[in-house]
Each structure stands twice: as structure tokens, then as C-alpha cells.
């Protein structure tokens, strides 16, 4: 009469497996949010740094609006490159 015993343990193992599955799904969702934040700041930071560099260079060379405009766009490009690189890295991890 070991069959019901056996069935019970098997049920228990199956249930715990499902529980673990759900848990890891939840953890994944958390890390998705983290990666979304990561990509956002990556983009904004490069634009900010580019603009600041442009502002400083403008003050140095007395070329008021031009370098800040150029470096704003260069910063945006650098931000996009950062985002693509981070995304590539994330894909490699999975």
C-alpha cells in the first residue's frame, strides 16, 4: 500500500516545482524593471554630459550657441550607442 504515499510525495515535488517557476518569473519581472531604468539613465546621462561639454567649450572658445548644439547631438548619439551596447549585453546574459 505504498502507492498513495508515493503519489503524495510526487504531488508535493510537482507543486514545489510550480512554486519555484512562479517565483523565478517574479524575479525576472523585477530585473526587467531594473533594466528599463538602466537603459533610461544611460541615454539621459550621455545627453547631459555632451551638453555640459558643449557649454564649457562654448565658454572657452567664445562660440556661444554652436558647440552646445553640436555636442547636444553628439551626446544623443553617444546615448543611443550606450543603450544599444547595454541591450546587447543584456541579451548575451539571457
Amino acid at each position: 500500500m505504498t502507492v498513495p504515499e508515493d503519489f503524495k510525495t510526487r504531488l508535493k515535488i510537482a507543486k514545489s516545482k510550480i512554486k519555484n517557476q512562479v517565483k523565478s518569473d517574479l524575479e525576472k519581472k523585477g530585473s526587467f524593471m531594473g533594466s528599463a531604468f538602466k537603459l533610461g539613465t544611460e541615454l539621459v546621462a550621455a545627453v547631459a554630459v555632451g551638453t555640459i561639454i558643449g557649454f564649457i567649450l562654448d565658454n572657452w572658445f567664445d562660440t556661444k550657441p554652436w558647440l552646445i548644439i553640436i555636442f547636444f547631438f553628439l551626446g544623443a548619439v553617444a546615448g543611443l550607442i550606450n543603450v544599444i551596447r547595454t541591450a546587447n549585453r543584456m541579451q548575451k546574459e539571457d
Binding site: G30, F37, T41, A45, L74, G75, G79
Partner: protein
């Protein structure tokens, strides 16, 4: 009662004012909570490594878990060459994690919600990684700004873009941690304020939100410490193993 949600971030002096060479070095509540976090880490790791049993007790188990977690993170992202930097990354991770977690306690102060704290940490990492890169590779380290396979015409433009991208590292590293912590704590306070102002009738919904947000904030506190440490590993990897 502090009803202003930004009140929790105010820094004030504790004890006498200390001024050295015109710089205000007084002990503030921010310094107090840094000391508290560091003391908790030291105490926790001391207790965890005191007995060294083969079958660990609970506190030793948790300390070992942190150790293997960080060790695995470093070997996965930066390889075996980064082993000598384990103590630095481990202390960095533990400090950020415990500052975030201590900040989750009521009436406490979140050190990492101030940009100056995170920026100094990020700038230190940035400078250290740059120095390590130059020490390991000499002038060849400049090749990090020149990706391979780029036409000569585009090279100056790409180099400027790469330099901007390199300089944006400490900014993104520090802003991410600071913005996450500050936004989360402000939101908690705002929902807490709703509970009070809506009273017994309508206060239950924001109370539920507050409970859910607290859980989310604990997740974010851990996640941001993890992200901070793993990005340090990635930057270290770029400096140690020079390739793209």
C-alpha cells in the same frame, strides 16, 4: 509631523560644528546613518565568520551567501583577472545595500538618496578604473575610444562620441541609484500623507498602496545595489581585458 514629502531628505548637524580650513566637516544625520550601516555590516560579517563551522549556523549561512553572490558576479562579468578587486567590490555592494536597507526603516535617513554621496562613489570608481586601465595597458588604453573597423573619415567623430560615452559612465551610475532611492522614498511619503488626509473613510486604499510600495522599494533597494556593483564589474572588465 513632517507633512512635506521632501522633509525626509534634509541634512542637519548633530553635535558641535567642526570647521577645518574653512570646510564644514560637522557630523550630520547623513554621517550618522553611514556609520550605522557600516557598523551593521562589520557586526554581521564578524558574527558570520566567527565560528567557521562546516555545517553553518544561520548568520554564517547568510554571510557566505553574500560572499558567493559577489564572487560569482565578479567571475561572470569580469573574469578571473578581477579577483584582486573582490574586497573593493564586496565592500561597495554591502555598503550600498545596507545604506538602502537601513533607509527603509521608519524614521531613518537614506544616505543613497543624496546625489553627492552616489556621485562621489561613482567618480571614485570611474577614476580608479581609468587608473587601472592606464596602469595595465599604458597608452594602449586610449584604444578604448577607437572602435575597430571604422572608416578613417568617421574616426574623429566616433572618437568624440566614444569619449562622451565614457565620461557619461559616472553620471549614469550615480543618477540611477540616487533617482531610484529618492523617487521611491518620496512616493512612500506621499502615499503615507494620503492615508492621513483621507482619514478613516478613504484612507484604506492608499494604505494598501503604501504596503505594496514598501515591498517594491525593498526590491529596488536590493536591485540598485546589485546594478551598482555589476556595472562596476563591467567597467573593470573593460579596463582589464581591453577589447570591444
Amino acid at each position: 509631523m513632517a507633512s512635506n514629502p521632501m522633509q525626509q531628505f534634509s541634512v542637519h548637524k548633530i553635535g558641535p560644528e567642526i570647521k577645518i580650513a574653512g570646510i564644514d566637516l560637522s557630523f550630520t544625520n547623513a554621517s550618522l546613518f553611514m556609520v550605522i550601516s557600516a557598523t551593521i555590516i562589520l557586526l554581521f560579517l564578524f558574527l558570520g565568520s566567527k565560528e567557521k563551522k562546516i555545517i553553518p549556523n544561520k548568520i554564517q549561512l547568510i554571510a557566505e551567501m553574500f560572499y558567493t553572490f559577489v564572487a560569482k558576479m565578479i567571475s561572470d562579468t569580469a573574469g578571473s583577472k578581477a579577483k584582486p578587486y573582490f574586497p573593493f567590490i564586496f565592500s561597495l555592494f554591502m555598503f550600498v545595500l545596507f545604506c538602502n536597507m537601513v533607509g527603509m526603516l521608519p524614521y531613518s535617513f537614506t544616505v543613497t538618496s543624496h546625489i553627492i554621496v552616489t556621485l562621489i562613489m561613482a567618480l571614485f570608481i570611474f577614476l580608479a578604473v581609468t587608473v587601472i586601465g592606464f596602469a595595465k595597458h599604458g597608452f594602449k588604453y586610449f584604444s578604448i575610444f577607437v572602435p575597430s573597423g571604422v572608416p578613417v573619415v568617421l574616426l574623429p567623430l566616433i572618437t568624440i562620441i566614444e569619449i562622451i560615452s565614457y565620461l557619461s559612465r559616472p553620471v549614469s551610475l550615480s543618477v540611477r541609484l540616487f533617482a531610484n532611492m529618492m523617487a521611491g522614498h518620496t512616493m512612500l511619503k506621499v502615499f503615507g500623507g494620503f492615508v492621513i488626509s483621507l482619514g478613516l473613510l478613504g484612507g484604506w486604499l492608499p494604505l494598501g498602496f503604501s504596503v505594496a510600495l514598501t515591498g517594491l522599494e525593498i526590491l529596488v533597494a536590493f536591485l540598485q545595489a546589485y546594478v551598482f556593483a555589476i556595472l562596476t564589474c563591467i567597467y573593470l572588465n573593460d579596463a582589464l581585458n581591453l577589447h570591444h
